[in-house]
């Protein structure tokens, strides 16, 4: 194809700038600015002074004819970024729960992916389909399913009641939130692990055995190193949605176990309406995740992507 | 013979790198012409200029005397057999071959007939419905040839068409291609870096290096009378030594003066002396001949390849007699075996080592 065909990308480039670059830039702008009101001479108004002026204006002036008695200004500030530090416990809690969920997914998913990868071709496809099927259900429904199970008079407590234990408070706990993350994102761990592991030739394992390695050494010296790229992408694919979720915590954590996502949601669509603070928190989350990803990328940087690399 | 294509003073630059430096070439009717040279010599670029995929920066291309510099590929009466075939994977054998005819709106029943003829020509009758992905390399090659020839081009361009095949198949295809060309009586322009291929099939060989045509001639001319050290070294294996032409018919190299049959050089002009390995005879060491020490002996089937260190130069000799490493031997050759050439720049880099490039990368 000729170099002229590069202009085919032009519409997308425009789209990319408007809908990817500018929105992210807006987050940065909002995170570092705030709206203040001044009187017509440019003197900063306190909240009370502003309210006074506004009420007076609303009551005594005909809106169409008169100039507003105050001016709106957007000014640079670090306040919102500083304010994020008030929420450090929430941030740490989110990260902590996401780490636990990711670790559990890895522990459950790794052996499963390995078992699937050593099966016959037809079975592999069948098992993969079974892993993917729940993933295709909307995650709200999957999470809702656990609400039914975990409730105080839900199925699990009923079953436990039959053998004379419980009932336990399971829903609205941190455990329930982690469970929801594991349940929702386990397939995201299994799939990348599987796709790396099918590429491991059985003969390399046999060669290791032939050279005298026992099962443990075969695993630690051959299977594990070869599957590292899958581990890294599985971790990313589970950790990123876990750390930024806000629905799982709301549905299974009962609103008492706030996560970063809930905090952002609150600033944009919740009672605490403050897009500047919301942007600041989003920016912190974004930077944190990009840092984490560049670290996992370092772990397997021989894996080069199509033309460019992530970061 | 009528001239079909004429290339005049063509130059081309890619990213500031001159890949063609003023090429002049006439291609005749019914000629099998091979562009031969190492990777990066400009042979593929020349072919692509003829095909219309590359526009020359300078100079002109004529078809039957008509300038066609700006005629796009789809309006040129040439067809190409691409490197790695470039068959359309989404079409079966029949549809691949019929592709060009369909584009030019040939009626379906005529297409059927012409495709069948082509399949017969390349010996793949009954393969119409096969998917091209399921064919062997050799079969894909034949389909690519059929797909190009079915359009009855005046000229067929072949860009290293046999490069991906194994040796046995390559030899078979060489013979077959030559047969096809003779049967259809059309012009083939063939690009290769394989000198043996070039010598086997061609009527005319064009040896290129660094964007310059080094020599144009029949395979016999090119082999027996190379015009410079590069050609000598590239066509077969050669010993190339620095020498000084004292006067006509007397040259000095390897510390001695030798009689030779070349004349017309300036007195005391530095020259390259080329002696083919098969022209050197191994004899007893004596004062009559050049003496040296055997460095390595390799059995090559028909002959031994013996490397002798004589006067600080490595000489490659092909001999039916063997020798022992460390032996002191004499090297004997006649004045007719000595070829004297004007100094050429690229020749100095490659003495003793073979220059046949293994690099399949095409030259842009």
């Amino acid at each position: 194809m000729t170099s002229k065909s590069k202009f085919l990308a032009a519409p997308y480039l425009l789209w990319m700038i408007i809908f990817i670059v500018i929105p992210l830039a807006l987050i940065v702008v909002f995170a570092f600015t705030t709206t203040v009101y001044t009187d017509l001479e440019g003197n900063l108004l306190s909240n009370e002074e502003f309210d006074e002026l506004r009420i007076e204006y609303d009551n005594f002036y005909d809106m169409a004819d008169n100039e507003l008695p105050y001016k709106k200004q957007t000014v640079f500030t670090l306040t919102h970024i500083m304010e994020v530090s008030n929420y450090v416990p929430v941030l740490l809690n989110s990260v902590w729960l996401a780490i636990i969920a990711t670790a559990i997914c890895l522990l459950i998913g790794y052996p499963l992916a390995y078992l699937i990868s050593r099966m016959r071709y037809g079975f592999q496809k069948l098992m993969l389909m079974m892993v993917m099927l729940p993933m295709w259900m909307n995650f709200l429904l999957r999470t809702y399913a656990w609400m039914t199970l975990l409730e105080r008079n839900g199925w699990i407590n009923k079953l436990l009641g039959l053998v004379g234990i419980g009932p336990f408070d399971m829903i609205n706990t941190q455990g329930a939130v982690v469970l929801g993350m594991v349940y929702n994102y386990l397939p995201y761990m299994i799939l990348p692990l599987y796709s790396i592991m099918t590429k491991i030739d059985n003969r390399t394992i046999e060669a290791a055995q032939d050279l005298g390695a026992n099962s443990l050494r075969v695993f630690s010296k051959v299977v594990l190193p070869l599957s590292m790229p899958g581990v890294a992408s599985g971790i990313t694919m589970v950790f990123v949605p876990s750390v930024s979720t806000f629905i799982i915590s709301r549905m299974l954590g009962g609103g008492t176990n706030m996560l970063i996502g809930d905090l952002i949601d609150l600033q944009f669509l919740g009672n605490a309406y403050n897009p500047n603070l919301g942007s600041a928190i989003s920016l912190v989350l974004l930077v944190f995740i990009l840092l984490c990803m560049s670290i996992t990328n370092q772990l397997n940087n021989e894996d080069n992507m199509d033309g460019g690399m992530l970061l | 013979m009528e001239t079909i294509i004429e290339i005049k003073n063509v130059s081309k630059e890619f990213n500031g790198e001159k890949v063609l430096k003023g090429i002049n070439l006439s291609i005749h009717d019914n000629e099998f012409m091979t562009l031969l040279g190492p990777s990066g010599c400009g042979k593929t670029t020349t072919l692509r200029i003829i095909g219309g995929f590359v526009t020359p920066d300078d100079g002109d291309v004529f078809f039957y005397g008509k300038k066609i510099n700006d005629v796009p590929p789809y309006k040129r009466p040439v067809n190409t057999v691409f490197q790695k075939y470039a068959l359309f994977p989404h079409l079966n054998v029949y549809d691949n071959i019929a592709f060009g005819l369909r584009i030019s709106k040939v009626p379906e029943n005529e297409i059927r007939q012409r495709v069948a003829e082509m399949l017969e020509l390349v010996n793949l009758m009954g393969y119409e419905k096969r998917s091209v992905d399921n064919l062997s390399g050799g079969q894909q090659q034949r389909i690519a040839i059929a797909r190009a020839l079915v359009n009855s081009p005046k000229v067929l361009l072949l860009d290293e068409p046999l490069g991906a095949l194994d040796l046995q198949l390559r030899k078979e295809m060489q013979i077959e291609l030559k047969k096809i060309q003779q049967r259809l009586k059309i012009t083939f322009i063939y690009v290769t870096h394989d000198q043996e291929e070039a010598l086997t099939m061609s009527d005319t060989v064009v040896v290129m290096n660094e964007g310059i045509i080094q020599q144009i001639g029949t395979p016999q001319d090119i082999y027996n009378e190379p015009t410079n050290a590069f050609v000598a070294n590239f066509i077969g294996e050669s010993n190339i030594l620095p020498g000084i032409m004292h006067r006509d018919y007397l040259v000095e190299f390897a510390g001695n003066n030798f009689d030779c049959v070349d004349a017309g050089f300036a007195p005391m002009e530095p020259v390259d002396v080329v002696i083919r390995p098969e022209d050197i005879k191994l004899v007893e060491a004596s004062d009559e001949v050049l003496n040296g020490v055997v460095e390595t002996v390799t059995f090559k089937g028909v002959h031994y390849e013996i490397v002798v260190n004589a006067y600080s130069d490595y000489w490659v000799i092909q001999s039916t007699k063997s020798a022992n490493v460390g032996d002191i031997v004499g090297l004997s050759f006649t004045p007719e075996d000595i070829h004297i050439m004007h100094k050429s720049k690229p020749a100095r880099q490659s003495r003793y080592s073979r220059t046949v490039s293994e690099d399949m990368a095409d030259d842009k």
Partner: protein, 261 residues
């Protein structure tokens, strides 16, 4: 012994994955509104579901948005992939990295950033903003599916078409497009799937009258007891099962034909 324990392990994991869904499905036939008391078999919830205008409307919304967004994303993305493929290395990797952003970004950040944009541009949140947002997160999947196909393609195919008499347009539509078609189709199907399934980004970019199915589900699950959701889950489960079965059977067949079993 080893085989048995690995089978047991797989059974446990799949049990974990499927039991909650089966409980939902069983509950969808439960006459009682309570989620844990079985009082008899009924189809009532299915009837109610099909008479629930909110759900039906949001389903229609979802499908319309998914189709429009995927079609536009597929065209935009395919053209973009071809353009990017022909760019110089540096520009290419810069653009690919930006294209990755919506994929690696947490969805919530993409959601709020788009919301900020729409508010900033004074566009009312509604079907239009939903379509714009969906196109934005779908295009990368199209590009990332088409680009590898272009790389795999023999780079002389386009020239071969021209050589055989195609003008550039013919070569493009007769050779390039069929050649990268599998990537285009995969990109389109992924776009449809992600668009139908998306909740987070839609949540931040929808308006009051433009609910998609996931948003309706969300508001239903907030009312603690809503057996219609169970019925809906059961239907969705069956639809997905059928789609996946068809896809897998085709894939296994194709795999057998290629002989890589």
């Amino acid at each position: 012994m080893k085989k048995l324990s690995s089978k047991l392990y797989m059974a446990l994991v799949f049990g974990f994955l499927y039991i909650p869904i089966f409980v939902l499905i069983i509950n969808s036939f439960n006459a009682s509104k309570s989620r844990t008391v079985w009082t008899g078999f009924t189809f009532d919830w299915y009837k109610k579901l099909f008479n629930n205008e909110v759900i039906l409307n949001s389903l229609v919304n979802t499908l319309i948005i998914a189709v429009i967004a995927s079609v536009i994303a597929t065209i935009l993305g395919t053209a973009a992939a071809i353009g990017i493929f022909n760019m110089k290395r540096m520009t290419k990797s810069l653009i690919i990295n930006i294209t990755y952003l919506p994929i690696i970004n947490p969805e919530i950040v993409t959601g709020v950033s788009l919301m900020l944009l729409f508010v900033f541009l004074n566009i009312d949140l509604g079907v239009v903003t939903l379509v714009l947002a969906h196109i934005t997160f779908c295009v990368p999947y199209v590009i990332l599916n088409v680009l590898p196909k272009l790389h795999q393609m023999n780079r002389h195919l386009y020239e071969a078409a021209m050589d055989l008499g195609c003008n550039p347009m013919q070569a493009f539509f007769k050779v390039i497009i069929p050649e990268i078609m599998p990537g285009i189709i995969t990109g389109f199907l992924m776009s449809i799937t992600y668009s139908i399934d998306d909740f987070v980004i839609s949540y931040f970019t929808h308006g009051a009258t433009s609910q998609t199915l996931p948003i309706t589900i969300f508001s239903m699950t907030r009312r603690k007891v809503s057996p219609e959701v169970n019925a809906l889950s059961a239907i969705i489960f069956v639809v997905i099962l059928v789609v996946l079965l068809i896809m897998n059977i085709r894939e296994i067949r194709a795999g057998k034909e290629r002989g890589d079993v």
